[in-house]
Each structure stands twice: as C-alpha cells, then as structure tokens.
Amino acid sequence: MTPPLIAFLVATIIPVFFGKIRSAPFWLMLQAAAMAWNTAQHGDLSAHTAVAVIEVLVVRALIAPRLLRRAIARRGEPNLDLMPSNLFTWAIAIALVVLAFEFAAPAMSDRQALTLGAVGATVAVSLLLLSTNDGAPAQLVAVLFMENAIALFESLLPEPWPLPVHAALSAIYLLTVGVGGWLIATPDPATGPAEEASS
C-alpha cells in the first residue's frame, strides 16, 4: 500500500474509533493532505496535476476544516465522541473496512485495488457514522468524509477528471461545508406570525 493511501486511511479510521467532534477538522485536513500527496505521486508533471494538488490543499485542507471548526465552535456542544464508543459499533466498523477491501479484490492492479478499498472503507465508515450518531456536527463530518472519498476515487481513473469537473466538485465540497456549517451552527429562530414565511 502506498504511503498516501495509508495516511488517508489512518485519517479516516482513527477519528471514527477514537476521535472527538472538535478534532474532526484536523482529521479532514490530514485526509486532504494525503489526497494531495496521492495526486502528486501518481499524476504526471503537468499544469493539470499542479492545479489539482493546489485545489485540494487550499479547498479541502485549509478552507473547509476552518469553516467546520467555526461551525462546531459556534454550536457550543460538549466535545463528544465522533462515533459512540462501544464494542458493537467498533465490530461493525472493522467488518465494514475489511469488506471494503474484499470489494477491491483481485483482477485489478495492486494500487487500484487498494485505492478502491480505501474509497469503499471511507464511504462505509461514513454511512456507519451517520447511522450511529444523530448529532448534526458528526453527520456533517460523515458527509465531508464521503465527499473526500469521492475525490480520492479520481486517482482510480486512467485519465484525471477534466478541470471543469474538478472545479464543480471542489465548489460543491466548499458549499457543503459552508451551507451545512451555517445550518448546524445557527439556532433556529423563534417562530413568527404564521403569515410571515408563507412567501
């Protein structure tokens, strides 16, 4: 397994087992750094690769974790576990990670199989996180993990995604954390007169 993929998996699995909500931005940053490393390692020396690496670092490693940290801080909830710590959820999480790598079984080159395994493990763990924690910040973290998995999926393809697709996915990532962060950070206003919002 290549070092960037190991780093990505560590940044996905460790927080699910041991991470707290407020440490989630750090793990997201680590995931993004691993993705940038992976892109740089496997991409050719071209402007496209450079733009892709810079985009991952700026959008996913810098701006998004900062927005998430601000949303979590504004919500002001206790710093709880990202996923409830009990043997049952741990067992399911481990089984899902193993299954994800089984999914990426033979008939593919080693790196492709491992990348697919990492993507599958991230998506599976994110879905588990969504089903075990009904707190909005943890749900947002799970969605962002899933979107990072989608971005990592690109390295599986023989040709990188065209820049417009890259730009669209980055914009969506940023908007997801921005809009999601705004929705979970601000309290619901008191209900006004019924007529008001029927617009």
Binding site: P158, A171, T176, L183, P189, A197, S198
Partner: protein, 477 residues
C-alpha cells in the same frame, strides 16, 4: 457564504428602491429564459439535435429541450408569485436580495444541469441545486426550519453518495473487462460491457436507488414531506415543480445509456420502489390533516406512478413523460395557491380553512382545480397520462402492478377528497369577509391551468413530437 450569512442575520431590510426593482428583475429574468428557450426550440428542428457545446460538456437534445421548456415556464409563474408577495410578506421583503440571488443561482444550476452531457457534472449540478435550496428551506416558519433544511441537505448528500457508489461499480466493471469508461453521456455506452456483469448491475441499481431517493421514492422519501411542508411556499414550488425534474433527467440519462442492455432487474427495482411509494403515500394521505403535507405526500405518490411507468417502459413511456410535465404544472399550481391560502388564514391545517371558497373565491377554485388535476381527472394532462400508463401496464401483462396502482390511487382520491373538499366547500368555522385577489397573483396560476388543459385535450404538434422523441430515447414505442 455572504448570502447565507445575510439570511442568518435575517437579512438587511431592503430599501424601497430595491423592493421596486428586485421583483420585476426576477420576473424579467424568467421571461428572458422562457423566450430564449422557446426561440431555440422553434428554430432548432428535432432532426438537428443533439447539439453539443461547451467542449461537449453540455448538450441540447430532445430531453434537455423538453425539460428546459418545462422548468423555465414553471419558474416564470413562481417568479411572478414571489414578486407579488414582496409587498405583503415582511419575511420575504427582509431577505429579498439573498433569496432572489439564491433562487437565480438555483435556476442557473438547474438549466446547466439539465443540459449536462457528463455524468459527474450532472451529479454536481443536482447537488448544487440542493445547496442553493437548503438556505431557502431554512427560511420556513416551522418550529425548526434549519433542522429541516439540514435534514434535506443530509438526505440529498446521502442519496447522491449512493449514486456515486453506483458510478464506482460501473467503473470497476469496465476496468475488469479492460474497457475505459468515459463519463460523457453520449460516449458512456461504449464503456459498458455486454452482457452486463454483477458489478454493472449493482452500479446501475445503486444509481437508480440514489436518484430515486432524490425523486422522493420509498424507502428514502421522508425528507420530501418534511421539507415541502416546512419550506416557504415559493421554495416548496421550486423543489416540487422544478428541482424534481433534474433528478428525472438524471434517471432518463442513465436509462438512455443502458438502453441496449438487459435491464429487467432495473424494471423490478423501479416497480418495487414505485409500489412501495404509492402504498406509503396512500397511508399517509389518509392521516394528513395539513394541506401542505397532503400535497407533499401526493408528490410521493406521483413519484411512485412515474417509477411504475418507467418500469413498464415501452407503451407507458409517452404517458410517463406526459405525467411528469403535467405534474410540474400541478405541483406549482397547488403550492402557489396553498401559499395564498396560508397568507390569508395563517394556518396549514385543513380544518382552519373550512369554506375557503367563500373567503377566497378565486384561490379556492384554483385549489380545487389543482386537486382535480392532481387526482387525474379529465380534461387535464394528468388524466390522459395516467390512462396511458395504466394501458402500458396492462399491455406489459403486469396485472398485479395494475391492481395495486388502481387501488392506491383510489384510496388517495378518497382520502384527499375527504380532507380537501370540506376545506373548500364546507361550512366556515367563523364568518370572514371575502378577500380581494389581484390579477397579478392569479395570472401564473391560470397559465398553469391552461397548460394542463392543453396537455390533456390538444397537445400542439411540435410539443407532441418532442415528447415522442424523448419517449423513444428511454425505450418507448
């Protein structure tokens, strides 16, 4: 994030000058969009489609043309409604600029998404419309509108993640067979193996499951009633009558790519999701005592009918298209009229609006017309569409689906009538003076009614040809 931040502050109150120009500007944008696409439609013969542009990332074909015409026509009505409400709704007036900006961004993403010729770009535009709509949903007046908006965003992200998992499976299938898959929709079929392997089938099933959830199909449907009820009325109309269609386009694109394949398992998946949705909707409509929620559950049942129709394919394809187009106008008509009722009565409860036709004769009558169109009465397009779908199901020999659909639609008809008809014609709980209604608020709704009658009685030849072309592209006869 300045727009959402502005919404969070409750928006800075717009100046009188802003109030004067923002509404007409929104309507002007909608008029320009409709005129542009009508002109393009008139000047581009169907034989010359598809036309690619923007480095082949976008395409103008029969499918995109049909939905561009539908969504922009519906949006024209919604924009007139929003414009007319600026002077009477303080919340809308206070958040006027951010809401207008988000609505325009939503429409831009919708227009581009409908024309997308790249599967991932289409996926991105669907998500983008959701991200534009979520802050609009948060402007609603339920107990916790931001929580509802967050649920809406979350469900959408999960649905689209499932769709993406499907795309992953397709890629894996292509790799296993030494093929390179292109996500350009016009070239994607070349990367699809024949006969399809289990990865390909799983990919297709996941994609349709994810997109089906965006359509409000059971089992992942619960976001739909919750969101439609909680959102401001104009946003509910945008979601139900406009955004719904981009998910339909995505389903059509997938079906178009896999047209030459054995997709019988997809038919079964759509059939199960459709029947489940109809059953869920029938049960919930019986329990609904809130007219906005009732319309929302009717939307779930409409999605069920569409899924069953698509599962049959062939003979039902034209009926499905007619149903989708009719439904866009029906939902817009019902939600916009519901907004007017709510503005006067201040309640979503059916009981509170008893005898509404005496207080709001015009809106009450339009609501009744919308309900009849929703229930599939003649002479509306939805009647013709339901007949074609049912006839297609019979031709396909699926009598269980036929029986279930007829039974559930009858239950929905009886349950809706039991709630809505006393609301319209029943005795009022207290005397109220009739409210004057302006022609500006009525005009778009009358336009929707005219479109619905035209679709049911006489579909102009160019529109009919366009519908036939799209029906053929999804495997229709």
């Amino acid at each position: 994030m300045s727009t959402t931040a502005s919404l969070a502050r409750g928006g800075a109150a717009p100046t009188r000058a802003e109030r004067l120009w923002v509404g007409p500007a929104l309507v002007a944008f909608a008029v320009i969009a409709v005129l542009t696409w009508v002109t393009v439609f008139v000047r581009t013969p169907l034989a010359e489609m598809p036309r690619y542009f923007g480095g082949r990332y976008f395409v103008l074909d029969a499918t995109s043309m049909l939905f561009l015409l539908v969504i922009n026509s519906v949006f024209l009505g919604i924009s007139v409604y929003m414009s007319s409400r600026i002077s009477t709704s303080r919340v809308l007036a206070r958040n006027l600029l951010p809401r207008t900006a988000l609505t325009l961004a939503f429409m831009l993403a919708m227009n581009l998404g409908v024309m997308a010729n790249h599967l991932l770009l289409l996926w991105a535009f669907i998500e983008l419309t959701t991200l534009c709509a979520a802050p609009l949903v948060a402007q609603g007046d339920t107990a916790a509108p931001r929580r509802v908006a967050w649920h809406y965003l979350l469900y959408s992200s999960i649905s689209l993640a499932l769709t993406f998992l499907g795309i992953m499976c397709l890629t894996r299938s292509a790799h296993l067979h030494g093929l390179q898959i292109s996500f350009m929709l016009d070239q994607m079929a070349q990367g699809i193996t024949q006969p399809g392997d289990s990865w390909q089938r799983m990919g297709l099933a996941l994609m349709l499951f994810g997109l089906g959830s965006k359509l409000g199909l059971a089992p992942l449907y619960s976001w739909m009633p919750e969101t439609y009820e909680a959102a401001p009325t104009s946003t509910s109309a945008l979601l139900a009558a406009v955004q719904f269609n981009i998910s339909v386009v995505a389903v059509f694109r997938v079906l178009q790519v896999f047209r030459g394949q054995d997709t019988s398992f997809v038919s079964h998946e759509l059939l199960i999701m459709g029947c489940l949705s109809l059953t869920v909707a029938a049960i919930q409509v019986m329990a609904a005592r809130n007219y906005k929620r009732l319309i929302a559950y009717a939307c779930v049942s409409s999605s069920g009918v569409i899924a069953i129709g698509l599962s049959v394919g062939k003979a039902a394809a034209y009926g499905v298209l007619l149903y989708i187009v009719s439904n866009a106008f029906v939902k817009a008509l019902l939600f916009l009229t519901a907004g007017r009722l709510r503005a006067v009565y201040g309640s979503n409860e059916v009981r509170a609006l008893s005898g509404v036709i005496r207080v709001l004769p015009f809106s009450g009558a339009l609501f009744a017309v919308g309900i009849f169109a929703l229930l599939g009465f003649p002479p509306f397009g939805s009647f013709m569409a339901e007949m074609l779908i049912l006839s297609g199901i019979v031709q396909a020999g699926n009598l269980i689906a036929f029986t279930l659909m007829c039974t559930m639609l009858t239950i929905i008809f009886v349950a809706t009538g039991r709630s809505i008809f006393p609301m319209i014609w029943g005795p009022p709980d207290r005397p109220r003076a009739p409210v004057t209604e302006t022609w500006v608020t009525a005009l778009p709704k009358l336009g929707f009614v005219a479109a619905l009658i035209l679709l049911g009685v006489y579909t102009p030849a160019p529109i009919s040809a366009l519908l036939v072309q799209v029906a053929l592209s999804i495997g229709g006869q």
